[in-house]
């Protein structure tokens, strides 16, 4: 990532060609790819767009490349572009195909396993990864994902942050002042609130670094500078601080909670692993618990780090997890947010009908709500 631009481009072009060359499963695919300089150029352009956070244009160009040749490189690019744009369900469905279609290398299967894992399908992710590694034993990407899966949440590093194997979003605003410097470190999870203009974070995370500059970054790699907005006694009593964001971060078109969460309601939490790099958060799930004594704080019923966004079965933000004092996870319900003033239209309609909550929908809803809290001190 730190190589000079011309060199980096050359590496990327070579990597793309290597990716094309690796796609041996479709008989004459390699030869066909070599005969398609327009396609190679399109892939390079799409990759550059993706790396500067232009998910829409990148997705368009990757899909145009896919219209020229049915190969894994364009599909993997379009999957990552969909993720960059917050379209988890689209990415997941596409990746299921890529993993099943292009079994000659582990990239498709490894990415699918990663997406399953962060989306709350840990058991299936493990099976998928095992299958991908069996198809391509010795593949370094598969091995790296396996190693990363030892942590919860998994953290992408090394080869898993390289452009063509990346298991994370790209920084969406390179060069802007909102982009955190390389020296930042992850201190906590946070939750985007107030139409994207503010964040709630664990107070203890900031108290440890009282003079630090603070940034937050969502699951799409979009970052904002953050400053403590005001001291809210009620929040502070619950161990939370409110941060004002500059610029505000966009919230997806709101999902209104279907009903007030009750003990026994399905609940979900989104949290990041311990990394200062852009990352996709991980979904955990279970059932919400009862009130803690006479307070408004409630038991969570499943494990989650503090500062994580708590979502209901409709994917609506309903609260934030609190730092544990007893070992049992708890959360603080938040007022139901009104629809945001600036909304990103939903990419896919919500599934309707009476059904168990679908974790893919929940995850997609939470990608913009869950925040990494980063400090530079």
């Amino acid at each position: 990532m730190s190589a000079p631009e011309p060199l980096r481009r050359a590496i990327l072009a070579a990597a793309i060609c290597a990716a094309c060359l690796a796609a041996q499963a479709h008989g004459d695919e390699t030869a066909a790819a070599a005969r398609l300089p327009q396609r190679v150029a399109l892939l390079q352009r799409a990759q550059a767009e993706l790396e500067r956070g232009d998910a829409t244009q990148a997705l368009d160009d990757f899909e145009r490349a896919a219209m020229m040749l049915h190969a894994a490189d364009a599909e993997l690019g379009s999957i990552r572009a969909a993720m960059q744009g917050g379209q988890y369900r689209r990415a997941l469905a596409s990746c299921a195909h890529t993993a099943g279609e292009h079994t000659d290398d582990a990239d498709g299967g490894a990415l699918y396993a990663w997406l399953l894992r962060v989306g709350g399908q840990g058991e299936l992710a493990a099976r998928m990864l095992a299958s991908a590694r069996a198809n391509a034993p010795g593949d370094p990407v598969g091995a790296a994902v396996q190693a990363a899966f030892n942590a919860t949440p998994p953290v992408a590093s090394g080869v898993l942050l390289e452009p063509l194997h990346r298991m994370a979003p790209w920084p969406a605003e390179p060069g802007s002042k909102a982009r955190p410097p390389a020296s930042v470190r992850f201190v906590s999870n946070g939750v985007l609130v107030d139409d994207g203009a503010a964040a709630l974070v664990p107070l203890s995370a900031l108290e440890r670094v009282p003079h630090a500059r603070v940034w937050v970054r969502n699951g799409l790699g979009q970052a904002a500078r953050a400053e403590v907005d005001r001291v809210d006694a009620a929040l502070a009593a619950r161990g939370l601080a409110r941060l004002k964001l500059d610029p505000p971060l966009l919230i997806a078109a709101s999902r209104q909670g279907g009903r007030t969460p009750f003990a026994g309601s399905p609940g979900f939490a989104m949290q990041f692993g311990d990394t200062s790099a852009p990352a996709w958060p991980m979904l955990t799930q279970g059932f919400l618990g009862t009130l803690v004594g006479d307070t408004e704080v409630r038991k969570l019923g499943f494990a989650s780090a503090s500062g994580a966004a708590v979502l209901d079965a409709q994917g609506a933000l309903i609260g934030v997890t609190l730092a544990s004092t007893t070992g049992a996870a708890t959360w603080l319900p938040l007022p139901v947010a009104p629809p945001p003033a600036v909304a990103v239209p939903p990419q896919l309609p919500s599934h309707t009908g009476v059904a168990l909550p679908a974790p893919d929908e929940i995850y997609e809803s939470g990608l913009r709500r869950a925040l990494q809290v980063l400090v530079d001190s």
Binding site: G122, S265, F287, P349, T352, G353, P357, A358
Partner: protein
């Protein structure tokens, strides 16, 4: 079509394929042509849910491309097209299964097959992905039956949400065709080589094939014992056999395809570059069509996931200043005789359906015109959405499987010591109903949540099989999925005040003939309420005795917290004005199941959802706590007594 078009000549064809087809029809027929609608799509890959947005072409800005696909939308579009012409066939180009999303893959692609059954597919070719799990598994998908793992039924098989009977798998109602796939052991095709449909006495044959290169792109075990023959040779060898049956209309469904090449905006009805490869060489599909017998009238292709329409309806589309400008350019791919054959493909994942109007000569039985159009399976179409709302069958199947994918479905919510079926005793009491009523009381018993004293659950809302899953052994770890099966409606709880008179009236209204009740509908009542009813007593006089013991069901096990009081004795309400806080679900609260008495409740308060209340209550019976045992005295079962 050979006889007809050989008389027309290629010059006319080159000038206008559509005109020549029409001219041929007029010249050769003395009776009106038969119009048949062929509806095709390919490479569905188990995408029961929308794969995302898709545009008519790349000129359409990404932000304006509609969400497309989804099994219920495919079904609705196909239904709409079928309604336009009762003479129709629905066909596929292969890869209906395999490399599919979790919602289908987790259940061995049975959901995809069931969805396609409801779409009404007639025939599809096999594709390479039909062989991902081997020919035996493909035959199981065709013929039905449950997937066996280590000799036993796999728990993820035979969910049967789209099959005739829950817990079974019908198999495909459509026919997979594999004309070029030969079983080495028998020398016969693995599956039928072709299918035939007859329209007003004219037969149309559909030959189905996968690409001959399938063994190179499928795991060896998947194609073990099979040989894959040349596509064009296979078709050409079948032509005489079909003609011997009086068939002149021949359609090829082949899992092989091409791509539009430069200039290319990817219009779904374009044929840029006539499907040549980008370097000008012939594409795989061209190489096949170029060698096809002249008897073949239409090729529905697949595999590349590309959309194209090389036919009389082809349009050239250019991007002129951000606007798509279309020009008609009738075309096709040349067959062995040099005649241009219509060749179509409908992208993948259910994004597009191909709508093909085929005109048949009733005298010669040959095809005289082919007019294909690719349509987006646009999820924003109001009429389509209305159609889905009117018939949500496929949507419900998709929603059902989506539920089963949820990891929460397998989360253990309690341990049961014994089965709790929804079978009622002679008095009308269900073991499952007792549990649900107690859960609803527990959820509304705290003063802030309603202060309920009694809860009633309507028997019809206790769904099969109760808390007694088939094959369960006890103690049984009850899952959220099990619980959801019993309480799937998403009803919310309502707590209200009833007088003792209203309570008696409610109990009387359980029985047929009382206050408009049309059948015996014995309510499931919560711990603390006991009553007896007489089967022989007249309507509205059946409840003989009723007592109430205040019981704290938020504790495990429940604890009586007050003396037993008599509400009804010998059919008489002792304290008519005394009130009770009673919880029911919102269905009953609005008079559902004929319980109009509940409309008279006062101080009504809404509460939790029924399934949440159940999960919260069952938390008291999770390991390491003792299992829920209906025989424990604290549960006060039985609660209803039948008298002669």
């Amino acid at each position: 079509m050979t006889a007809i078009l050989s008389k027309l000549g290629r010059t006319l064809l080159a000038a206008s394929l559509a005109t020549s087809f029409a001219g041929g029809a007029l010249a050769q027929t003395t009776t009106a042509p038969i119009t048949v609608k062929i509806i095709g799509f390919n490479d569905f890959h188990g995408n029961l849910q929308s794969p995302g947005t898709f545009g008519q072409n790349t000129v359409v800005p990404a932000a304006r491309r509609p969400a497309v696909g989804g099994a219920e939308y495919i079904a609705a579009y196909v239904a709409r097209l079928k309604a336009q012409n009762p003479l129709n066939a629905v066909v596929g180009g292969g890869d209906f299964v395999g490399a599919s999303p979790l919602i289908s893959a987790l259940f061995f692609d049975e959901p995809a097959v069931e969805a396609m059954n409801h779409v009404g597919v007639d025939f599809t070719s096999v594709g390479n992905h039909e062989f991902d799990k081997g020919s035996a598994e493909l035959k199981r998908l065709q013929n039905g039956g449950c997937k066996l793992t280590n000799g036993s039924q796999d728990p993820n098989s035979c969910k049967g949400l789209g099959s005739k009977v829950p817990g079974t798998f019908d198999g495909a109602h459509f026919k997979w065709l594999s004309a070029n796939v030969i079983e080495s052991s028998t020398g016969r095709t693995l599956l039928p080589p072709y299918g035939i449909k007859s329209f007003n006495g004219v037969k149309v044959a559909f030959i189905g094939m996968t690409l001959k290169g399938t063994p190179g792109i499928v795991t060896p075990t998947g194609v073990a014992g099979l040989t894959f023959q040349d596509e064009a040779d296979t078709v050409n060898a079948l032509v005489p056999r079909l003609r011997a049956q009086g068939i002149e209309a021949i359609i090829v469904l082949v899992h092989q395809g091409g791509f539009q090449s430069s200039p290319n905006v990817g219009d779904i009805n374009g044929c840029d570059g006539n499907l040549h490869n980008a370097d000008g060489s012939k594409s795989d599909i061209e190489n096949i069509v170029n060698r096809l017998d002249d008897a073949v009238d239409l090729v529905i292709s697949a595999h590349t996931h590309a959309a194209y329409n090389c036919s009389a309806n082809t349009v050239d589309v250019k991007n002129v200043g951000g606007v798509a400008v279309s020009t008609a350019r009738p075309t096709g791919l040349a067959n062995k005789a040099g005649r241009l054959i219509p060749v179509t493909s409908a992208s993948a994942f259910g994004r597009i359906v191909t709508d093909i109007d085929l005109q048949l000569d009733p005298k010669t039985h040959d095809v005289i015109a082919v007019a294909p159009t690719n349509w987006l399976v646009d999820r924003t179409d109001p009429a389509i959405n209305a159609a889905i709302a009117a018939d949500p069958t496929v949507r419900n199947i998709v929603a059902g499987y989506n539920s089963l994918v949820s990891p929460l479905a397998s989360a253990v919510v309690a341990t049961l010591a014994s089965p709790l079926p929804n079978a009622a005793s002679s008095a009308g009491e269900m073991p499952a109903g007792d549990l649900i009523a107690d859960a609803q009381l527990a959820a509304t018993q705290p003063a802030a949540l309603g202060g309920a004293q009694i809860a009633f659950m309507n028997a019809g809302g206790v769904r099969n099989p109760g808390f007694a899953p088939a094959g369960a052994t006890y103690p049984y770890a009850l899952t959220y999925g099990d619980a959801f099966t019993v309480q799937p409606f998403g009803n919310s709880l309502v707590t209200m005040t009833l007088t003792a008179v209203q309570l008696k009236a409610l109990l009387e209204q359980q029985f047929s003939g009382c206050m408009g009740q049309t059948a015996n509908r014995v309510l499931q009542s919560s711990n603390g309420l006991k009553y007896s009813w007489s089967a022989s007593a007249p309507a509205c006089s059946k409840v003989i005795d009723a007592t109430f013991t205040s019981t704290d069901v938020t504790r495990t096990p429940p604890v009586a917290t007050g003396p037993t009081e008599t509400i009804v004795s010998g059919g008489v309400v002792l304290h008519p004005a005394k009130t009770y806080r009673v919880t029911v679900n919102n269905f009953m609260a609005t008079g559902g199941d004929g319980f109009a008495t509940l409309l008279g409740g006062t101080n009504v308060l809404g509460g939790a959802q029924d399934i949440d209340a159940l999960v919260a209550y069952l938390a008291g019976y999770q390991t390491p706590n003792p299992a829920y045992d209906p025989s424990q005295p604290a549960l006060g079962i039985p609660r209803v007594t039948l008298l002669p």
